[in-house]
Every structure is written in structure tokens, then in C-alpha cells.
């Protein structure tokens, strides 16, 4: 299993798209803060707003990145090479989820760190009271855990929907579905996007550990479905 995860990580390391995402994510995070930075009256903490907006956007981008990569392997049929090496498919698919969780965590750490490094001086200049170092570390760790979980979830979606464009469409479209579903069933706080918001506030309607627990459960559930489908799917 270690060799498989290491190989998957090498796959990510040896293509430009990974590095492009690494460059783009902090930029996305910083840009999404402009409103909070330049309108501090409505925001008692720039960093809270950073978490509210950026964590969701960044986590969804990481999920889409994972889905595109894994779905692309099915589209290009390169996953067949993985299955030649390891004929039993479940370990291959599990390794992909693990590798994207790992990559998601690294991307989240980098994004959180860079975005805070940019935002804190701006916030101080605008007389917005910054949080303490402990809270900053907690927020960066929160971003990393959320992006790790969404990375694994995205990889599983890539297996289930082996076409990158459709997979990305499904991920983006889910935000609309979640709004309708959540309102209709009265479970809005417990659905993935809302859980990201709860995590952004380091706990809200749902506590931080519960939010992460539920997100991990979603990733495990979709991952199990992906393995069930993936292990039986013919590679034509």
C-alpha cells in the first residue's frame, strides 16, 4: 500500500497541473478576502472572513482537482496500467484517495499559510484586530484537514464519474443541490458545504470535531461507493 501511495504522490509531483494549483490556491484565497480587508466595519475579524469564504472555495477547488486527475486516468485509460501492476483494484483506488488526501493537506497548509501571511499585515494596517497565534495555527490546520478530506472525496468522485468535466460539474452543481436538499429535509447544517462553513468558524451549529467527523464519513461513504463501482467496472 505504501508503494502505491508513493507512486500516486509521484504522479502528482511530476505534472505541471499540481504546481499550478499550488500557485493558484493562495491567490484565490487572498482575492476572496478583498471584501473583508477593505470593509472592516462589517467584519470584526478579517481572518474569520477568510475562513468563511476561502476555506469553502479552496476545499472545492481541491476536490475538483482530485476529481479531474482521477477521472482523467479513466478517460485516458492510464488507470489500466495501475490495474496491470495491482490486479486487485480496491488497494489502487484506496491509494488514490489517500494520495489526494495527502496532497490536499499540503495544498491546504500552503494556502492557509500564504493567505495568512498576506492578510495579517493588511488587517493590521486597517486596524482590524488580528487573532492570536494559537488561533491562526488552528485555522491553518483546519484548512489543511478540510482540504485533505475534500481531496479524498474528490478522488472518489473521480472514480465514480470517470469524466473530468462531468465530475467537476457535479462538484460545483452540488452547491445548488445542497441548498435545496438541506432546506427540504431540514438537514442543511449537516451537509458538506455547510460543514465547511462550520469548520471555517472553528465550530458553529456543528462543532469542529463533529464537522470533520461528518466530512470524513461522507468521504468514506463516497469512497466505499467508488470502490464498489470501480472494482467491477470493465475497462473498455
Amino acid at each position: 500500500m505504501t508503494a502505491l501511495i508513493s507512486a500516486e504522490a509521484t504522479k502528482l509531483r511530476t505534472v505541471r497541473s499540481t504546481w499550478s494549483v499550488l500557485l493558484v490556491l493562495p491567490l484565490v484565497a487572498v482575492v476572496s478576502l478583498f471584501d473583508a480587508v477593505f470593509d472592516p466595519v462589517e467584519h470584526n475579524s478579517v481572518l474569520v472572513d477568510f475562513m468563511d469564504v476561502s476555506l469553502t472555495v479552496v476545499a472545492i477547488i481541491v476536490a475538483a482537482f482530485a476529481a479531474v486527475n482521477v477521472g482523467g486516468e479513466f478517460l485516458r485509460r492510464t488507470v489500466g496500467l495501475d490495474y496491470l501492476t495491482v490486479p486487485r483494484r480496491v488497494p489502487v483506488l484506496a491509494a488514490k484517495m489517500a494520495a489526494f488526501a495527502y496532497a490536499g493537506a499540503l495544498l491546504g497548509l500552503a494556502t492557509g499559510a500564504v493567505a495568512h501571511a498576506v492578510v495579517i499585515p493588511i488587517a493590521l494596517g486597517r486596524d482590524v484586530p488580528p487573532d492570536g497565534i494559537g488561533q491562526i495555527v488552528a485555522r491553518i490546520a483546519t484548512v489543511a484537514v478540510a482540504t485533505a478530506l475534500l481531496g479524498a472525496l474528490g478522488a472518489a468522485i473521480g472514480v465514480l464519474v470517470p469524466h473530468p468535466a462531468i465530475a467537476v460539474g457535479a462538484i460545483i452543481g452540488w452547491q445548488l443541490v445542497e441548498g435545496v436538499l438541506g432546506a427540504a429535509l431540514g438537514i442543511a447544517p449537516y451537509l458538506p458545504i455547510s460543514l465547511l462553513t462550520s469548520a471555517a468558524h472553528l465550530g458553529g451549529t456543528v462543532s469542529l470535531p463533529a464537522a470533520f467527523g461528518l466530512l470524513a464519513s461522507y468521504a468514506a461513504l463516497v469512497g466505499a461507493a467508488a470502490m464498489l463501482v470501480g472494482r467491477r467496472r470493465d475497462l473498455n
Binding site: 504522479k11 489500466g80 496500467l81 496491470l84 490486479p87
Partner: protein, 325 residues
């Protein structure tokens, strides 16, 4: 060098040497009663054939005949509804060390276009716990050379073929499965491939190579497995295929083909067909056919004998067997 006796050779688990399993009986490839249908399309239909170690077997059939599906069944990419497809006596998924047992080229150019050829091979090697030195060895073996540093997206078709062959060779396998490896290759590439495949067989490996035409494999293979509509049409050595190609024929082009045909039939000759002014007569007795035409005052433009080529025999076997989709 015989690979079976090479000191560095990592033998597949359960294999004493090429051609023998623990009981000394396993074929390199054994397909029996294999059936696979996709909805109403019967892609492979109760197919049977075997491949021995130390031989190159051509897996022939028109496009859509079921060759690729059969190869995919062999490596577990496609699950058959009935029958079995074994390699070294076992289903692919039960092989203890699949990469060292089978090298497969099923998707030519299946590599991330943004990754270098060398990194592509390194990833596969890492998955299979094969050392990086083996990556360099297979790059040399297929003649990829400096191109290994470049991104796969910039490769020519021939270079992609070499890269996929290199990937298949990573585990130093005893059995090679190749799906239309000559597709798109120029004459030089085909010659290189021919020598490459013969070299693999000379080392004791079994090679099953598919193609939709016989011409490009005629000088390479020991045996042909011909399929059409997913069913076995012929499993013959080249000499058997040549014998089955048909009797020699006499071809005569004349000014009055209908009159000559009548005369020849009255004389007991079998006229097989007419194509314009040319008659095809069974047998290679051109002297007699010419004499009969002369005696009846029929002017002869051309007279020759011919034996159907292997390619013609193949086309005859597979005529009308193209898949209807």
C-alpha cells in the same frame, strides 16, 4: 542469452522456468470457452486457443472481431460472462507477481501527456517495487534514449509504442500481450518491432500479438489465431495456413474469355471465375491451358500461375467477419 537461465531473472512466483508451473503443465496463455457480451453485442463467443512459451502467436481478425476484448479479459480489465482466460495457469488477478509474469501493451500511448517518459516508467516501477535501474534498462532496450526526458505529449506514435513496450518489459515478464503494436508504425518501425518480438521469443518468452492484418506479422509469427465475430476461425501454424490458402491457379487473359471458359470446361478443367478478360482456372498447368486456347484460335494476352498468398488466405478466412456496429 536464454532468459530462463539468466542469473538476474526474477521468475514469476510458482514458475520453475518458462513453460512450466509447479506441475510442469501450464501454457503461457490458455483461453477456453471465453464469452463476453456488451448488451446485445457478443464481442467474444466461446473462444478457445493457447499460446506456448518461446513462440510468437499472431492474434488476427478484422476490426471489431473481439481481439482487444479478449486481451482485456486476459488481464482482468474486462470480466467475461463465461469461460476462462489464464496466464501461466492462473487468472491474472491470482498471479502472485503479475508484472513479472505478464507484460501487456493494451493502450498505446496511455500515459499522461504532461509527464516525461522516464517519470511515467518510474511511477510504474514504484508501484511494482522495481528499482530505478530497471527503468534505465528498459529505456535502453526499446531505444527510447534521450526522448525519455521529454514529455509524452510531444512523442511521435512510434515513440509512444516504444514507451508502452518499455512499460510492459519493466517486470522482465515471461508472457507478452500486445494489442496492435504495429499500428501507425512506419516500415522501419515495423521492422524494428518484428526483430524485437522475435528476440523476445528467442529468450523463451511467449508473445501474443494482435493485428487486423496478416501482412505486417507474416514474417514474425509462428502461429496464427484467427477470429471473427468473436469466434475462433482458425488456429494454425503458418505452414498450415499456407496449405489451407488453396490450390495453385492458372490465370489467363484472352480476347474471348467466355468461349475459352466453355472450351476448358468441355475439356474437364475447372474454371473458378472470371474477372473482365481474365479467367482463373484450377491447377497450375498453364502449358495445357495455353495450348487449348491456341488450338481454338483464341488470342492470349497473358498467362501465369499463382498460389494464394497467406494474406489472401487470411482474407478468405475472415471475409464477411467484420463487426457490424
Amino acid at each position: 542469452m536464454n532468459l530462463a537461465t539468466h542469473p538476474d531473472r526474477r521468475l514469476p512466483a510458482g514458475t520453475q522456468r518458462f513453460g512450466e508451473d509447479m506441475n510442469g503443465t501450464a501454457k503461457a496463455v490458455e483461453v477456453a470457452g471465453l464469452t463476453k457480451h456488451f448488451g446485445s453485442l457478443r464481442a467474444v463467443d466461446e473462444l478457445d486457443f493457447t499460446v506456448e512459451y518461446g513462440s510468437v502467436v499472431g492474434f488476427l481478425g478484422p476490426n471489431g472481431a473481439g481481439k482487444t476484448t479478449t486481451l482485456r479479459c486476459l488481464v482482468g480489465h474486462v470480466r467475461p460472462q463465461a469461460g476462462h482466460a489464464l496466464i501461466a495457469g492462473r487468472p491474472y488477478r491470482d498471479l502472485a507477481d503479475p508484472v513479472s509474469t505478464v507484460g501487456a501493451v493494451l493502450e498505446n500511448g496511455a500515459a499522461h501527456p504532461g509527464r516525461s517518459g522516464r517519470n511515467h516508467l518510474r511511477i510504474l516501477a514504484r508501484q511494482a517495487r522495481i528499482g530505478p535501474e530497471r527503468v534505465e534498462a528498459v529505456i535502453d532496450r526499446v531505444g527510447l534514449g534521450d526522448a525519455a526526458r521529454r514529455r509524452v505529449g510531444g512523442y511521435s506514435l512510434g515513440m509512444r509504442q516504444r514507451l508502452t513496450l518499455a512499460a510492459a518489459l519493466l517486470g522482465d515478464p515471461a508472457v507478452m500481450l500486445l494489442d496492435e503494436p504495429a499500428n501507425g508504425l512506419d516500415p522501419e518501425g515495423i521492422r524494428w518491432l518484428r526483430e524485437f518480438l522475435r528476440g523476445l521469443a528467442a529468450e523463451g518468452r511467449a508473445v501474443l500479438v494482435s493485428s487486423h492484418g496478416l501482412a505486417e506479422l507474416e514474417l514474425t509469427i509462428d502461429k496464427a489465431v484467427v477470429i471473427g465475430h468473436g469466434r475462433l476461425i482458425a488456429e494454425q501454424s503458418l505452414s498450415e495456413l499456407a496449405a489451407a490458402a488453396g490450390e495453385p491457379q492458372t490465370l489467363i487473359t484472352v480476347a474471348e474469355p467466355d468461349r475459352l471458359a466453355d472450351v476448358l470446361r468441355r475439356d474437364g478443367h475447372e474454371v473458378l471465375g472470371r474477372d473482365g478478360d481474365r479467367l482463373t482456372v484450377a491447377g497450375d498447368d498453364a502449358r495445357t491451358v495455353g495450348r487449348i486456347a491456341f488450338e481454338h484460335g483464341i488470342a492470349v494476352d497473358r498467362l501465369a500461375t499463382a498460389r494464394p498468398s497467406l494474406e489472401e488466405a487470411y482474407f478468405r478466412l475472415t471475409a464477411g467477419k467484420e463487426a457490424i456496429r
